[in-house]
Every structure is written in structure tokens, then in C-alpha cells.
Amino acid sequence: MKVEILNLTRIFQRGFKAVDDLSFSFSSGDVVGFVGPNGAGKTTTMRILATLDIPDSGDILLDGKSILDDPALAHRTIGFMPDELPDRTDTTVEEYLDFFGRAYGLRGKALADALASVEDFTGLVSFRDKTLHELSKGMKQRVSLARALVHDPQVIVMDEPANGLDPRARIELRELVKALAENGKAILISSHILSELEEMCTTSVIIERGRRLSTDFEDDTAWIRLRFAQKEGEDFLARLLEMPGVKEAEAAGNGFRARIASGDEAAAELAKGLFSRGLVPIHFASEAGRLEDVFMHVTKGALA
């Protein structure tokens, strides 16, 4: 399944351009991080994908077919997980999923199998008789994901799924997303927690003021975080810069950060250089956060 977003533009009242000529594409197995400041147009784009809004111009193609001409195709193919969580006192998890299963046209054994499958996948089996109101935020998020998956869509659109979750729930969500990608789903996911996105995404799209930002500057570098048993002085930064492959260095917390070429070879070269100079780090790890760097570099924090 290939999803193509072509020159999408959405103009609200008074000429407010929420999305401005946005284009990108992704395919089965891809996990695309959709990143941008508040008001950048992420949710609007996702709502158009889910057929909850229509663009003023541009199109969205699923395997070459327009969802604007055939919204039912999007209903069958896309599972949308909004940022709001289900919360009702008069509906159990099972009833909630059953309703959406039926709403997608599932009946009888197909419905029962689909419910069993999504409840098993999202770990909701033991919660199926609880009302939605009784669930924790993390479990509600699972219910929301199960709802988006109940008709076995090929494309999953997740709007801020990690919002407000505790660390355990975030890790569990990450594992679920990875498992979905391994099952061949195409996933578009927006989040403010960029380090998390980086861990699960195969690629990312950064938008600001409704426009896709160029990330051409994304050179092949990575940050390595270092800490030593003995506290090193300020002059250590100069020594660090002399190490093989180090392009930039700075103090960070109780240690240092060094920017080197990305890849295992450059990291090994740096480690070798440190050891050869008698500097044995007690902490040597590549730093997650490259997406954060890119994000901070390309965005200006401006709203549309």
C-alpha cells in the first residue's frame, strides 16, 4: 500500500492556510514521524487523511486512487487514532470495539475474530468488561489503537498517541507500533516527544506553517555522549576536538558531547583514540535526539 499526499492545501476562514502545498509519501512497513510545532498543520493533514475534512486543493492517493473521489476506500484502508481518548461510563471496552467493528461492516464470526484479534494484540483481553471510564490513560490509548485496528486497515494514522502517557505506557506503545510496522502496516505518527519518534520511525516529515520543511542539511553526523570517572576540566574540550573524527564538542551535564560522523566505524575510531590517549570513559553511547536537532535547526517555532 502506497500513500501519496500530493500538493495538499487547506485554507480556513480569513485565508488561514493550515496546510500549504504539502507533499510526501510513504508505504507499507514505513513508520513516518510527522513533526511540527503546535499549529503547524499536522492534525489538519491527518483529519484530511481520515476523511474528516477535505482539502481546498491537492489530493491523497492510496495505491493511485483518490480518497476524495472514493472516501469509502479511505474508510476501509485507514485506521485513525485521534489525540482524544474514549471515556464513557456506560460503555465497556468490548461494546466500544463491537460498535466500531459493526460500523465498519463486520458481522458474525468476522466481527468476533476481529475483536479477539485486536484485544489480544493490544493486551485488552482482561479489560474487555470494564467501562471505558474505569481505565487508565495508557489503557484508554490501547482501546483507541484497538478501535483503529478493528477493521484491519493497511494504513494507520496516529495523532499524538504518546501524549500524557507515563514512561511504561510509552514504551509499550512503541513496541506496538514496531509490531504493526513489522506486520506491513504503513504508519503516520505525530508526536511532540521527538526522541521517542526517532526510536520507532523509519523516516520523518517536518512541517511548519503548513509547509514541509527542507531537511537537506541532515548530514551524516551523530552525537556521542561521554562521561569519565574523574571530572575533566574545561581544557578537555580542546583535547576532545583533537580526537579522530570529532567535528564538534561541548560540555553536557556531568560529561561531554562529541559530534562525529554517523555509523559504527566513526564511533569505534573515537573510542580507539580515547583509549590510546589513556582516557577511559565510563559512559560512551550514541545520543538519541538527532531528530530533535534537525527539528530545532529547521523550525522557527512560528505558527501559521
Partner: protein, 458 residues
């Protein structure tokens, strides 16, 4: 076939929630007890008021309890349940701001239909609970047997119709004032649907007093007409952007129009009811058009016929503010035309219809222009300002003529004005009709050419 008989998911969800609702289960449990107490009170009052010799035969004791049961059931079925179900719908719409139902295979009509079905079951359960008490009242004598069945059926029909109207008002976004105006128009419609059904049944039964079967059919017909209309109307209000929601609604309106046109030819009473119906429906359509946020959106493009003439014909049935206004205008004009054939003073009806069109079309077109001034073509705006200038001109002329007539004592020579009907159709047409037609033609041609641009890509 499988899908026809499978239960509507929204109805199923609503019923599950009703079963879990403490308010509903408590009310249904307490309701028979309340009916029992009030029935016994009514019986004891009736027994106290009756002379002993009449009591021995049990004559007329059922009247009081029957009235009491009818009032109690009516309060619950026609007020309590519609109010509860409407509030529930409003709260759920607020809670699910995303509109996740619209990402599924459910259509807006399915969603409204499901709500109506669940409420029908709840009202049906309430009426069924009261049935033993109705039968008890009948056993006490004084009540015709058919009334024991007609009353619950009527309460059921009225309760469900009330809910349909309340739901349509709840679905509408807009100011409180607009909701009040719409509600008044819609309740008026409900009455009209009933009267058209009643008259048509009277015609059908060829007698002054309709039989029980005819009355039952009349209630059923007006209920069906109300539900069909409001289901389509609510669905058009609920429609997400990817659905051309007003198209099915206008189809229903057109179907009702054809049906009642046929009925109206049988009786002058039906003719009157029919004419008022169409003026009311046109009012609802015009309000809806003025508040519609969209001009021929992309959703309509997909369903536009490829053939030019078919596209031209289907234009008024297409979503959008201006097509909506033209549709309403068309309905008023055709209604006036047909009605004028049935009465002696057909000219008056023609003037009535054109006056309704004039006084509603102009402000609504201008309202649309003000709301969407950047989105509308220049020709719309041109036509809109002509209409407004026309309204102002006529108001001034009418006022001056009125003053002159009063001062000269020649009241019968008043020129035509928008506030009333007089006997000078030709004068009316010469003064205002040409300008009105000119404006409408400009809007129509401009809209139809815009619609052509939206034809489905080859």
C-alpha cells in the same frame, strides 16, 4: 440481504447504553407503580362522583383512569424521553468532537436512523408498560375499544415525531435565535404533515368521519412522512465534508412534494395544507442554505453527472448555499403555480408565492454574501445587491403610498407591497417581478456555470 436485516450499530449501541443507564432502568421500573397509584386515585374519584345506581352497572368509570393514564404516558413518551434522548445526543456530539463515526462505513442517515430506532424502542417500551392500564380503563367501561389502541399508537407517533424535531434542532449549529425560528417552522411542519395525511385519508374513506382504520393509517402516514423528512434533514445537518449530505435531503423534499401535489388535487383543504407546507419547507431550506458553510464542495463534484443536461437538472439538488436557495425558490414557484390551478383566485396565490420568495430570497442571498464574501463569484454579489436595493425601494414606495392613501382616504388603491396581497398581479409583476427574475437568472446562470467547472475529472 444480510445487511438489510442486520441491526443498525448505532441503535444497538444506544440500546446497550439505555440498559446500562440508571435513570432509564429506574424510570421504567417505577413507571408502572406510578401509573397504578394514579389510576387507583382516578378510579376512587370516579366512584365517589358516581351515583350508586350507576356504579352497580359500572357505567363510565373508565373515562377518568383512561385520561389519567394517557396524560402520564404522554408526559413520559412525548416530553421526558425526547428530552432525555436529545440531551444525550447533544452530550455525545460534544464528547466526540473528532467525529470518529464518520471515519467508518456508517452514513449520517445510518447514525440518525439508529438514534431514531433506539428512541422508538424506548417510547414503545413505555407505551407497552402503560397498555395494561389502558385495558384496565376499558374494562371499567365508558371508553370505546378502538380508542384503547389508538391512544397509545398516537402517543408513540407523537413522541417519536417530537424527538425527530428536537434532534434536528440539536444537530443544527448556530445561534439560539436561529434554533428557535427553525423549531417553530419544524413544529409547524409536523402539524402540516398530520393535516395532509388526515385530509388525504378523509378523501380516501369518502366520509366525513374517518374510520378507525383510516385514523390509524393517518397517524402512520404522518409519522412516516415526519420520520423520512427529519431523518434526511438531520443527516444533511450532520454530514461530514466528504458526504454530499443535502443531496439526499433535497431528494426527499422533492419526493414529498410530488406526493402531496397529487393529494392536493383531490381537495381544497388538502390544497391549503399543501401550500402552507411548501412555504414552511422552503423556509427551512432557505435557513439551511443561509447557514450552509459551503459552496458546491468537492463532495458534490464526485457525484455530478457527466452529461451536461443531467448536470444542469441536478444542480439545484446539489449541496451548497446558492443551489439550496434556488431549490427553495423553485419549490415555492412550482407550489404557487400548481396551487393557483386549483382555486378561483389563482392570481392571489401566485402573488403570495412570489412575495414569500422575494422577502426571503433577498436577505438570505445577502446573508450568504456577507458570510462568504471572498468565496462567492462577483455575479452573486451583483444579484444580491440588486435584490436588496429592490427590497428597500419597494418598502419606501409602499410606505409613501400608504401615507398618501391614508391622507386621501383611497385605501383600496394601494400598490402591491411585500407585506400583503392585493388584486393586481400584473402590476406586481411589472414593478418587482422583472427585477426579481433578473436577479434569480443571474444567480442561476452564474451558479450553474460554477457547477459545470466542478464536473468530475475525466
Amino acid at each position: 440481504m444480510k445487511n438489510i436485516f442486520s441491526i443498525n450499530p448505532v441503535a444497538l449501541r444506544e440500546l446497550r447504553q439505555l440498559v446500562r443507564s440508571k435513570i432509564i432502568t429506574m424510570s421504567l421500573a417505577i413507571f408502572p407503580g406510578i401509573l397504578f397509584v394514579f389510576t387507583m386515585l382516578a378510579v376512587s374519584t370516579a366512584m365517589r362522583d358516581k351515583p350508586p345506581e350507576e356504579l352497580a352497572f359500572g357505567d363510565g368509570l373508565g373515562d377518568g383512569p383512561f385520561t389519567m393514564v394517557s396524560v402520564m404516558t404522554g408526559l413520559v413518551a412525548c416530553l421526558g424521553i425526547p428530552f432525555y434522548a436529545t440531551m444525550k445526543a447533544i452530550m455525545e456530539t460534544k464528547r466526540d468532537a473528532t467525529g470518529l463515526e464518520f471515519t467508518t462505513a456508517l452514513t449520517p442517515a445510518n447514525i440518525i436512523g439508529g438514534r431514531l430506532a433506539a428512541t422508538a424502542i424506548l417510547i414503545g417500551a413505555t407505551v407497552a408498560t402503560a397498555m395494561p392500564f389502558f385495558i384496565f380503563a376499558y374494562l371499567l367501561r365508558g371508553i370505546p375499544l378502538e380508542q384503547v389502541f389508538l391512544m397509545p399508537f398516537g402517543l408513540f407517533a407523537y413522541g417519536l415525531s417530537t424527538f425527530a424535531i428536537a434532534l434536528s434542532v440539536a444537530c443544527r449549529q448556530g445561534s439560539v435565535a436561529m434554533k428557535v425560528i427553525t423549531t417553530v417552522l419544524l413544529f409547524f411542519l409536523l402539524t402540516i404533515f398530520s393535516s395532509v395525511s388526515q385530509i388525504s385519508l378523509t378523501i380516501g374513506s369518502h366520509s366525513e368521519t374517518p374510520s378507525t382504520l383510516a385514523t390509524t393509517t393517518y397517524i402512520l402516514l404522518s409519522l412516516v412522512a415526519t420520520l423520512v423528512f427529519f431523518r434526511a434533514y438531520c443527516a444533511s445537518l450532520l454530514s461530514p465534508p466528504h458526504v454530499d449530505g443535502e443531496r439526499p435531503f433535497r431528494r426527499v423534499v422533492f419526493a414529498l412534494f410530488l406526493l402531496s401535489s397529487t393529494l392536493a388535487f383531490y381537495s381544497l383543504d388538502a390544497c391549503n395544507a399543501w401550500c402552507i407546507t411548501w412555504v414552511s419547507i422552503a423556509g427551512v431550506l432557505l435557513i439551511q442554505s443561509a447557514l450552509s458553510p459551503r459552496e458546491i464542495p468537492r463532495a458534490a463534484r464526485g457525484s455530478a453527472p457527466r452529461n451536461f443536461f443531467l448536470r444542469l437538472f441536478s444542480f439545484p439538488f446539489t449541496t451548497g448555499a446558492v443551489p439550496g436557495m434556488l431549490f427553495a425558490f423553485l419549490i415555492i414557484a412550482i407550489a404557487g403555480g400548481i396551487f393557483s390551478l386549483r382555486v378561483k383566485d389563482g392570481d392571489e396565490i401566485l402573488i403570495l408565492c412570489s412575495v414569500v420568495a422575494e422577502v426571503t430570497f433577498a436577505p438570505i442571498l445577502v446573508g450568504a454574501i456577507l458570510r462568504r464574501k471572498k468565496a462567492l463569484p462577483r455575479t452573486y454579489r451583483f444579484a444580491g445587491w440588486i435584490m436588496i436595493a429592490l427590497l428597500c425601494l419597494v418598502s419606501v414606495i409602499s410606505f409613501m403610498a400608504e401615507v398618501r392613501a391614508i391622507s386621501s382616504g383611497a385605501g383600496e388603491m394601494l400598490p402591491c407591497n411585500f407585506a400583503g396581497i392585493n388584486e393586481y398581479p400584473l402590476e406586481h409583476f411589472r414593478n418587482y417581478g422583472i427585477l426579481l427574475l433578473f436577479s434569480v437568472v443571474i444567480v442561476a446562470v452564474s451558479s450553474i456555470s460554477a457547477f459545470r467547472k466542478y464536473r468530475k475529472p475525466e
